[in-house]
Symmetry: C2
Subunit: 330 residues, 2 copies
Amino acid sequence: MNAKPPTSLDVARLAGVSQATVSYVLNDRPGMRISDETRARVREAADRLGYVPHAGARTLRTGRSGLVLISMEDIPYGPLAVGMLEELDRELSRRGYTLVQYGARRLRGVPAARAWAELRPVAVLAGAGKLSRQALEVLRSAGVKAVIALGNQPSPVVPSVALDHEGIGVLAAGHLIDRGCRTLAAIVPTEVGLREMGERRLAGVQRVARARGVPLTRVDLPFREESAAALADLWRAVDGVFAYNDEYAMLLMAVLGDAGLTVPGDVRVVGCDDLPLAALLRPRLTTVRLDLSAMPSTLVQRLEELIAEGQGTPYRIDPWTATLVVRESS
Amino acid sequence: MNAKPPTSLDVARLAGVSQATVSYVLNDRPGMRISDETRARVREAADRLGYVPHAGARTLRTGRSGLVLISMEDIPYGPLAVGMLEELDRELSRRGYTLVQYGARRLRGVPAARAWAELRPVAVLAGAGKLSRQALEVLRSAGVKAVIALGNQPSPVVPSVALDHEGIGVLAAGHLIDRGCRTLAAIVPTEVGLREMGERRLAGVQRVARARGVPLTRVDLPFREESAAALADLWRAVDGVFAYNDEYAMLLMAVLGDAGLTVPGDVRVVGCDDLPLAALLRPRLTTVRLDLSAMPSTLVQRLEELIAEGQGTPYRIDPWTATLVVRESS
DNA sequence: TTGTAGGCGTTATCAA
DNA sequence: TTGATAACGCCTACAA
């Protein structure tokens, strides 16, 4: 019960060989010719003792932990992100790495990067906001080989995997104008963490609206029914709204209905994310679907490049695809 | 650039003291009287070098990693769970532990528990399904002090924090019958991972329905509009449905509307989770709200008990609260 | 008040 | 084909 965990030395003793042999066998080190009988004895002994190697000791000795840290706070949890995470985990463990989600807020004034560095990870994925030059220095000096920024906009200091939020706005605005909308509005959420994304998406809408001569109103909106309902006059004055995402679209459609406005007759609405609820709204919601399925492999590829070649390149953006899912009845 | 990370010895040399002194100062070890000047010199040196202690080495030496592992797969990601996780992280780091989310699937046939054990965590939180007696043995033998099962039903072998899904069903059924429903249906999702929970909730509905003499139909339903629509006859035959959760409730309400049935006039519907969308449906959705706010602190408390006293107790369930949010207009 | 020395579990070098 | 042995970075009992 209170016995200390068995070590490779324990295994060696039980198998009647040396510690080194145990290491050779268990890591089946190439180039070492060890008799099958010895191998079997070692394996058997390890099994019987329930031997599990000590990751810390191995890291200490080899200088490589194989850990890939990803910060929890910077992941917009949802079906999309979770699926991507799981695939990323699979992909990484396939290549011998270990993905670990790690909090970014530390108490006692210890900055996040410092806490990450203690684990001597081989790579760190974190929101661009948390990768200050200073944080980066801490990581580099702790031997982190690859740092990649996640988030809404690219980091100026490390390679980034950033969603092209403007592209979403472009897609949505194009659709609305194509369908005949002449007066647009675009919702920007006021929630922290969302506003930034909202503004990027807005920028895309703006670009298209300007290019095609359609007036556009920016609507800063908290996710509250009363707030949306209070803008009834505004909704009456436009005929097309990009709602930022499907949840905002649902909020909007609820208050539009309450105000006696019809969709898409009086106002067209476009959401984003293609949540299950999008197809369940009446009328069904037209939305922008993000395809992140290519992201895990891209991420891993970049990661291995950085690990191999060193973190040379300053920054760049990685691709993904967005498609419009048209559901409006018309 | 390629310099190896500074060690405490480097700090000692720069500060002109011994390695031991560095350790004393940086961990401000009580009982050690070290001059303020020395302290300052050590701190200064550590800063200048960007010294970050090596977690692996410390774990190796002290025998304690302070790591608390939680398995990613067993968390039903959503606003509720994410908030709880963040609070748990805060709570744990406040007490000197480090929460880390870790994948449960390993390749190469290495079972999850074995991979967890390599990190020598002090505690492991994982789905009851992953905590077989065998897995537990591996963990215990690796020095894991506390193992707590998360999930839908308690583990027979370790302490569990399990949601009282039956209670949800009881609450929902009570409400429906109180409001005059005489023929109930309860949805059980067919998705893996959800079905189990659905059946627990169903059991609660069943208990109440039986006790109050109300007939109940179990409806196994995939989350697809066509499937729900195909059951139009069934929906017509009941006057109260517990929809498992808010998303299913939304699905149901969409097809009810399509079939010309009114809510709550023809059929009453109760959801669960009190998602934002619940208040946005028309009519607004009555739902069961889960309050998990007490869970992180309870969890941490149990954890520390187990660490201190050893994993003695076989198992038990921990509390939480569910409340009914009534929104129906009537 | 500070320094010396040993060992935690693992891998790798070298010798047998 | 296998076995001693040293070293990774840190902490701590003990010595000075």
